[in-house]
Symmetry: C2
Subunit: 357 residues, 2 copies
DNA sequence: CTGAAAGCGCTTACAG
DNA sequence: CTGAAAGCGCTTACAG
């Protein structure tokens, strides 16, 4: 091989194919003096290759910078090396964090991430997901709430024989296929925090009932309060929609009560921001007149005034754990690293909570 | 073909391949009584197929729900049907919006989106991008700031013959490869708004100088003020880092001046939120004592109190336009829809701006 | 432990 | 306007 000036190579190639053509399995086989099947065995970590043969092949691969073509492998395997993330969560911070977690897990693994936002309200929703998974022959998919709660969707994935991991507030499937976020535990921690401050009239603004998390967060709050002998009264439970406007409206209703709550726990931070607005309009001071706790610990939480106390989920880790489980499914049990995939919510305590007057 | 009960099919298949095996080009060819080359011509919209032949083939494809396998086509084409998004922007809202725009553009097109966040400060940054593009044989990539400003990165893409479109505040490349966001125009609009309110002592908290946008936003502000006969004084220009904390620090310095500004324009909303904190600590009231204008119109802008006036970029459209340009590159000029890809910033006027006392 | 043949589902290059 | 052959870069199934 004669060495060429890079300039020349670039010049010669503009508009054409790759520069130096990348080595293929055939090149490696020829150089190693073995069949390509043996190269294939090395690529796939088969134990049926003599150690010296393997080492020699590895050396040649390294020298040529050889990397097997995922497209060709995929065609032969009838499966790609792509992991899909299917989601309908409107919270960008959540989405980006999960993506980052998945990417952390797949780094150096040869897998790549394909994103697929969707809308469960769309008529063609299930068909679209089916096409997506089928066309890309996805290696597996990560599902986040609320699509992770959709059993019809899961049925399609099973039918297509596409591995999946569901991220959800509560277990909905076999353990290997679940990342459980224990939202109730986080809500219970918020409840204990409020109880410790001396609150007894605690209200809950829930998300829409179609989200599991709405129920889990409520359950956790009720149980956490009950531990301290406090009742989450029905009159203090009100249904929001996980939106800012619904937070404003619900808070207005609560603050207009004859005996208004001294603390409000909201299903997410977005609604907590709505509570701030309603409180301001009503001349209610946070935290002096009213304590507020959110859920998500979004970046906004720390930017509000006073900064918002909020339940925090390790979202990036949730994405990473999910992808790791997916990859584990393809790894022989013997070679699998045992690793814990426990998700534990926490509470970021800030200035929006204080003892009632 | 005998029809089977779905139950049975599911039963029979668990853990195996796809249920009913999907039709291939060979099935279509056999049923149509032509060679697979002719099917291939139909798939690729070749004009060299008799109309009746084409129609017949289309009918058969439709009946069988045939969709060509992108992996197999990709292997033969030496190029995948994946579009990459390479980014290092820390703003999740921005990232998610661009992603949505790209997905809008590729919908029904058979392309899919692979995301690749990265860090320009990493030692292996360029190599990682090269591997990503090379391994996936990307159809093309969309670059957003600040990676869109990286000429070394672009050189690699050219070398790999990978089409790209750069999203940036100012033109850095041929028109077909650029989505120009005209940040300066948005900043100028902010300037005109402040001037109209009667402000003359206007300050600018910039982003890091390594971002083009920092310079463009400053330039636009200066030019917009100059139009109205107002000077953006050097003493009122201060360098931030696009972070909340830097916004706090810069605003503190500005408010401590003997003759503090009556209005502050920040390079992004995150720093504007920092200005709010510094103003609160200093007992300075927004907008009575100080007007504030941000950039991005992030969701937080409307949640702050008072709601933040901010320059708004059509981020989703920017992503869509970029992907459309990419797809256009592969479309013969004759069939290309002419469509405008102009990006125009706007100004969301809210409660954080008022006339100075 | 290793290999020759056939195949994954498409396209290119050539021929007619 | 249409097709037979070879090939894209891998793996499976079989044989030894």
């Amino acid at each position: 091989m004669t060495s060429r000036r890079p300039d020349y190579e670039e010049e010669a190639d503009r508009g054409g194919g790759a520069l130096r053509k990348r080595a293929t399995i055939n090149d490696i086989a020829r150089l190693a003096g073995v069949s390509k099947k043996t190269i294939s065995r090395v690529i796939n970590d088969s134990p049926f290759v003599k150690v010296e043969t393997r080492d020699k092949i590895h050396a040649i691969m390294k020298e040529l910078g050889y990397r097997p073509d995922p497209q060709a492998r995929g065609l032969a395997f009838r499966r790609s090396f792509l992991i899909g993330m299917i989601y309908d969560n409107p919270n960008p911070q959540y989405v980006v964090n999960v993506q980052q977690g998945i990417l952390e897990a797949v780094r150096e693994s040869g897998f790549e991430l394909v994103v697929h936002p969707c809308n469960r309200a769309d008529a063609g929703f299930l068909d679209q997901v089916r096409t997506f998974v089928e066309q890309l022959k996805l290696f597996g998919v990560v599902l986040t709430p609320s699509v992770s709660e959709d059993d019809d969707l899961v049925a399609i994935l099973r039918e297509l024989d596409c591995p999946y991991v569901r991220v959800a507030s509560v277990s909905l499937d076999e353990a290997e296929r679940m990342i459980v976020t224990h939202d109730a535990d986080g809500a219970a921690e918020a409840a204990r925090h409020l109880a410790a401050l001396g609150h007894t009239r605690v209200a809950f603004i829930s998300g829409p009932p179609s989200f599991r998390s709405s129920h889990e967060r409520r359950r956790g709050l009720a149980e956490g309060l009950a531990e301290q002998g406090i009742t989450l009264e029905d009159r203090y439970i009100i249904e929001g929609a996980y939106t800012f406007d619904s937070g404003v409206a619900c808070a207005r209703a609560l603050l207009a009560m004859d005996e208004p709550p001294t603390a409000i726990f909201t299903g997410n931070d977005e609604m907590a921001a709505g509570v701030y607005t309603a409180a301001r309009d009503a001349g209610v001071s946070i935290p002096d007149d009213l304590s507020v706790v959110g859920f998500d610990d979004s970046p906004m939480a720390a930017r509000l005034w006073p900064p918002l106390t909020s339940v925090k989920l390790p979202i990036r880790n949730m994405g990473r754990f999910a992808a790791e489980k997916l990859i584990d499914m393809a790894t022989p049990e013997s070679e699998r690293r045992t690793r814990s995939h426990q998700v534990e919510p926490g509470l970021a305590v800030r200035g929006s909570t204080a003892s009632p007057r």
